[in-house]
């Protein structure tokens, strides 16, 4: 077990920039921009006629009907969840490049000869990389989301308070923070299953390609999609295009971004609409329906198969001089 922890540490050391610093930087930037926005808003407010400067917001809130208040607070929950999405998107980009280089970079710089001189099985190596992508990095991002949401809560509380709104406490009490955090946490292992095809595909290309894994990983599936379009145009064969782009291309490439199962199993991504926002993404319903869908488990099998191919190349292919 301590061996495996060492392997996880190794992955962290090499990828601290992506796992740790990327979320920190995004959070900092977002905080700074929000702050600038608030200050600008405050300054703008200062230009208003005196009688309009102190809006009777408290009284307005008090006059809201419970339904109206409920709606406003759900809007706030969407906003908080939306802040989290920013961190998750960055995690997706980090994971894409991490997985793509995971079994390629050490072949390129020949340090694989050092790693292979240690009593670490190639299976453990592969597993440590999968676990880093599926659990370690998402845990960092999860903490990042919580930090960003807390920062936003504090900033908006101060903003409201400085504008004389006493009811800012609603921001905290109605946010469903703990619930959201728990669902996001439970979503991490679920996402690890859902994203297996993407992880498997990227690691397979990383393990197999002699150079430029990026081009192979991205343009090979695009090429296949274009060929399908051609066949479609040239013959009367009806190949379901959208099926390919969703279930093959989508699952293999876009699936690396967390929470892409939000729209149910036979789709990729999440359609936002007036009555569906980011907050609905982190729902028990979405997770529950996913667990029961064949799409998830077919993807798991496909992902494991590709990881198997990745293992084969890692284990048996000769290292070029």
């Amino acid at each position: 077990m301590s061996t495996f922890l060492t392997l996880l540490k190794r992955e962290y050391w090499e990828n601290r920039g992506g796992f740790l610093w990327a979320p920190i930087i995004v959070i900092s930037l977002f905080t700074v921009f929000t702050l600038i926005g608030m200050i600008a808003g405050k300054v703008h407010l200062g230009n208003l006629p005196v009688e309009m400067r102190s809006l009777p917001l408290d009284q307005m809130i008090a006059k809201l009907s419970p339904e109206q208040l409920q709606k406003a607070m759900i809007g706030w929950r969407h906003a908080l969840a939306g802040f989290g999405l920013i961190v998750q998107m960055v995690l997706g980009v980090v994971l894409f490049f991490y997985l793509l280089s995971s079994l390629h970079d050490d072949r390129k710089d020949r340090s694989i000869l050092f790693w292979k001189s240690m009593p670490v099985s190639d299976f453990s190596t592969l597993l440590s990389k999968y676990v880093s992508a599926a659990l370690v990095a998402p845990l960092f991002a999860w903490v990042g989301v919580i930090v960003l949401q807390l920062i936003m809560l504090v900033m908006f509380s101060i903003f409201f308070l400085s504008n004389g709104v006493q009811k800012y406490t609603l921001l905290w009490t109605e946010a469903d923070l703990i619930g959201m955090w728990i669902r996001m946490f439970v979503g991490i292992p679920l996402n690890a299953l859902w994203a297996l095809p993407a992880y498997g595909w990227l690691m397979m290309v990383s393990s197999w390609s002699r150079s430029r894994p990026f081009l192979w990983a991205v343009f090979a599936p695009i090429g296949v999609g274009l060929v399908l379009t051609w066949i479609d145009v040239l013959s009367n064969l009806q190949i379901p295009q959208s099926w390919y782009w969703i279930n093959m291309f989508g699952r293999a490439i876009l699936g690396v971004v967390p929470w892409m199962f939000g729209d149910g199993a036979n789709a990729i991504g999440f359609n936002f609409s007036s009555d569906r926002g980011p907050y609905d993404l982190y729902s028990w319903e979405a997770m529950g329906s996913l667990l029961g869908s064949a799409h998830l488990w077919i993807g798991v099998v496909a992902g494991l198969a590709m990881l198997g191919v990745a293992f084969y190349f890692r284990r048996y292919r000769e290292i070029a001089d």
């Binding site: 301590s2 540490k9 050391w13 050490d106 050092f114 240690m118």
Partner: protein, 285 residues
């Protein structure tokens, strides 16, 4: 005592090129073996096969394991430096130590730190900040702190200055080596290692052309400085090599008696390098 390495008909082809042409080999424990051969002779291929880094035909057992299928078990007891400067460039020195300590049950941090203390390597540096020679020093310190039954060193001292090379080989012999261990070294700087070797193995065109202990080499080969008057006699004994020094000829003989040799002129025991050069004639043809 079982053989550390046992090979029967070991072959390896790269397409049409035969890198190893059926090698038979037995290596017992407690030896320091120099594997010596010109570029492209098959040294690295042979080493790769022994370490499970390539597939092969024929029979091969290393420490009782099949290196290709039981690589993981083999690596518990064997270690290697396959090439210099292959440490990952992003890692920090203290991380590299922590990593090996974490994954290798036979690693001693104390030993490693003692070895590093003799260098100018800062534990906080990243490998990419170290000079070429320092990277090699770090790699060797990591490997020498592992109590392995078999240590394979492929050109371990490339890029090191002569002071450190000397010290490294002395440490290897005095501190690392013992009767339970086997060390295989390849290097082009043959002269520097011959005094620590117990055995020598020449490889040429994918075949082992000489395999003997250093004592046998000293008995078997003799170099004689022959004046012009004895030249005919010397040539009759079929020297395997000839070179000219100050108008005299120096002949290298394989397997003639000491008495015969002494009649021809002044004798001396040739260095491994001389024997090597004579044996490898035509290696590039």
């Amino acid at each position: 005592m079982t053989a550390v390495i046992k090979a029967r008909g070991l072959r390896k082809n790269y397409g049409r090129f035969e890198a190893l042409k059926g090698i038979d080999l037995d290596i017992e424990p407690g030896k320091i073996i120099g594997l010596i051969g010109p570029n492209g002779a098959g040294k690295t291929t042979a080493i790769k096969a022994m370490l499970g880094l390539t597939d092969y035909q024929g029979e091969l057992k290393v420490l009782g394991f099949d290196p290709h299928t039981q690589r993981h078990q083999l690596m518990q007891e064997a270690c290697f430096v396959a090439d210099v400067a292959v440490l990952p460039r992003w890692i920090r020195v203290h991380q590299a130590i922590e990593y090996v300590e974490g994954v290798h049950p036979r690693f001693s941090r104390t030993k490693c730190e003692a070895l590093l203390a003799k260098t100018k390597i800062n534990p906080k540096s990243r490998v990419r900040e170290l000079s070429k020679g320092m990277i090699v020093q770090l790699h060797l310190a990591l490997v020498m702190a592992i109590d392995a039954k078999l240590l394979v060193l492929d050109e371990p001292t490339l890029g090191l200055d002569i002071l450190y090379r000397r010290e490294f080989y002395q440490t290897l012999l005095n501190d690392y080596f013992d009767n339970g261990k086997t060390i295989i070294v390849t290097t082009h700087q043959v002269e520097e290692i011959e005094h620590i070797l117990t055995d020598v193995m020449f490889i040429k065109d994918g075949q082992i052309v000489l395999r003997s202990t250093m004592d046998e080499v000293a008995e078997r080969f003799v170099e004689v400085m022959v004046g012009p008057e004895n030249r005919e006699k010397a040539l009759a004994l079929k020297p395997i090599d000839e070179r000219q020094v100050f108008g005299k000829s120096i002949y290298l003989f394989d397997g003639i008696s000491r008495k015969d040799a002494e009649q021809l002129g002044e004798t001396r025991t040739p260095g491994i390098a001389d024997v090597f050069v004579a044996t490898m004639k035509g290696a590039y043809k």
